[in-house]
Amino acid sequence: MKTTETPAPLPAESGSAVPVTKVGLSTEKPAAEKKTEGNVLNAFSHGILVIWAIMVVLPLLWAVMTSFKGDGSIFGSPWSLPDTLHFDNWSRAWTEANMSDYFLNTVLVVGGSLIGTLVLGSMAAYVLARFDFPGNRFIYFLFIGGMSFPIMLALVPLFYVVNNMGLLNSIHGLILVYIAYSLPFTVFFLTAFFRTLPTSVAEAAFVDGASHSRTFFQIMVPMAKPGLISVGIFNFLGQWNQYMLPTVLNTDPDKRVLTQGLVQLAVSQGYKGDWSGLFAGLVMAMLPVLAAYIVFQRQVVQGLTAGALK
């Protein structure tokens, strides 16, 4: 590798004036040596990258394909294409396997907790970012600390706290707990965001006689919209995909959320051995998040990667 690199400055110099085209490369003699190295590496990179892309996509495609197959061929020949498209798997999963109920429960829980998380999270973050008061730092670090502690440790007493309040196995109980556990990251993210917003607008509003809360809701929240969207999508994915909290706090079969419902179906051998219906349910639960990801790709990546880079 090293030896071919020695005449490095040539192509960059001669090329600067020439418009960049891929086709032109093959006719250039002097750069031949470099080019082959670049090509070999390029082919190698693409080869490896494509293999991993296939490894990522294949299981997902396999699940979609399986959701349209008859029960017999799922086990007989897992890799064959479905002989006929069994759309009935989907309708059976939706109605008989209670996927519609689980879906509704998930939408209610995630909808409620998403709104609650954004409202409460932005209120706390705004105060922590913009106001000086004794205990500000302490409260901030109290919130942030929640990001690095193992949730499981708190789950045992949490179960009894929720139980004593009569909130076990209820949608609103789950909503409150989801909000509480989403606050650390939300407060962390939004505090940083509110600090970057200019102070002059808010001060002007305040001088004009707007109250603190009016300034917040009518001026700061609209200005913080990009941040709220990023952290909102992050929380949507996290709450939609939550498994551990509902498993512990929500054991009533009627109140199950999607992830729980699916796992329960699988444990009971697919209701009445209906594996194809189970796969249909699995794909059903995957679709909303995949769709949200594709639409909001940039914000999702921003929100998720911000979590790792404190």
């Binding site: 590798m1 490095a8 400055p9 960059a12 418009p19 960049v20 750069a31 590496l41 390029n42 190698f44 990179s45 990258l49 991993w52 892309a53 990522v56 996509v57 299981p59 396999w62 699940a63 086990f75 890799w79 706390a124 105060v127 008061f133 409260i139 919130f143 929640g146 690095s148 193992p150 499981m152 440790l153 708190a154 045992v156 007493p157 179960f159 706290v161 929720v162 509480a180 606050l183 650390p184 109250s211 603190h212 809360s213 917040f216 995909n241 498994y243 512990v248 796992v263 699995l282 639960a285 995957m286 998040v289 995949l290 949200a292 990801y293 999702v300 990667t305 790792a308 880079l309 404190k310």
Partner: protein, 308 residues
């Protein structure tokens, strides 16, 4: 500005802080207290037993097994995932064909496509991913073994999750599959911000791609790698390993506790065996392991900060 300031602050903080204190902070404090009692969780009565639970834990073979497995999740799993992700990210950002007149270092074509696809599993629920792979691993009719049969490897039909020696690796492979994309995107963002003239200078000096990676890319990316490792380790010690082990392995916990992790053991002791106090004791151990893990990674990884 002072008028009504404190009333406003209290009004805005009361609800979020109250919820957080009630459902997150208070249970944390309680659990440490409960670890010194003989509370079953079934009845409200309990008495203090001092360090009994901790003594019992030290004699508990399953606890040691679960600790060992959890450490694998915190150390081996991120090591594999992060190395793979660095490899992919480097190829995506630096492995491209050199175009005439273009930058010395360039990404492969379609780099954003790879990043989008690789990230897919990250947005799926870990529970759904675990279910999907539990089917794929099925020894008789699962996708993997039928694939082996299809390509003529009839002799090679592992039991996967049913084999005590293989089960833990199978479960960890699923987490690698689902997390690599996240780190590829994370590291790509870091690599994109490394100035191109650094690469140019290195290439002029005759450095190959491997040398470029170890001398330039990795040192400049080190902070990101480190915080990524801590982030993944904490997840792998907690929620993620709970879901994969509980859903995928039989028992759950695998044949002969071969996949039991600490977080699953806490769950089973508390909600299956009615030993809430003992469960919180293991939870405290989990907290200690998590904090120690983060401290060790930060300490080992400490080097001079590079400015560029």
């Amino acid at each position: 500005m002072q008028h009504g300031k404190y009333r406003f602050i209290v009004g805005f903080l009361a609800l979020p802080l109250g919820l957080y204190a009630l459902f997150v902070v208070w249970p944390f404090i309680q659990s440490i207290y409960y670890s010194f009692t003989d509370w079953t969780g079934l009845s409200p009565e309990f008495k203090m037993v001092g360090l009994d639970n901790y003594r019992r834990m030290l004699d508990d073979d399953i606890f040691w097994k679960s600790l060992q497995h959890s450490l694998m999740f915190a150390v081996a799993l991120p090591l594999v995932t992060i190395s793979l992700a660095l490899f992919f990210a480097f190829m995506i950002n630096v492995g491209g064909r050199r175009r005439k007149g273009g930058p010395v270092i360039s990404g492969v074509r379609g780099s954003s496509f790879y990043k989008i696809v690789y990230f897919f599993p990250q947005v799926l629920s870990i529970a759904i991913v675990a279910l999907l792979f539990a089917f794929a691993y099925n020894p008789d009719s699962g996708a993997i073994n039928s694939f082996f049969r299809g390509v003529g490897l009839d002799g090679l039909q592992p039991l996967w999750l049913g084999d005590p020696d293989l089960a833990l690796w199978c479960v960890m492979a699923v987490l690698v599959w689902s997390t690599v994309g996240f780190f590829v995107v994370l590291f790509s963002a870091g690599m994109a911000s490394i100035p191109a003239d650094l690469y140019e200078a290195a290439l002029l000096d005759g450095a190959g791609r491997a040398a470029t990676f170890f001398r330039i890319t990795l040192p400049l990316l080190w902070d990101t790698v480190q915080s990524g490792w801590v982030y993944m380790g904490i997840l792998a010690l907690g929620a993620e390993s709970f879901a994969v082990v509980q859903i995928m392995t039989t028992g759950p916990g695998g044949p002969d506790y071969s996949t039991t992790v600490m977080v699953l053991y806490v769950y089973q002791k508390a909600f299956r065996d009615g030993q809430a106090a003992y469960a919180t004791t293991i939870g405290v151990a989990l907290l200690v392991v998590t904090l120690a893990f983060a401290a060790v990674v930060m300490r080992l990884g400490r080097r001079e900060r590079l400015e560029y």
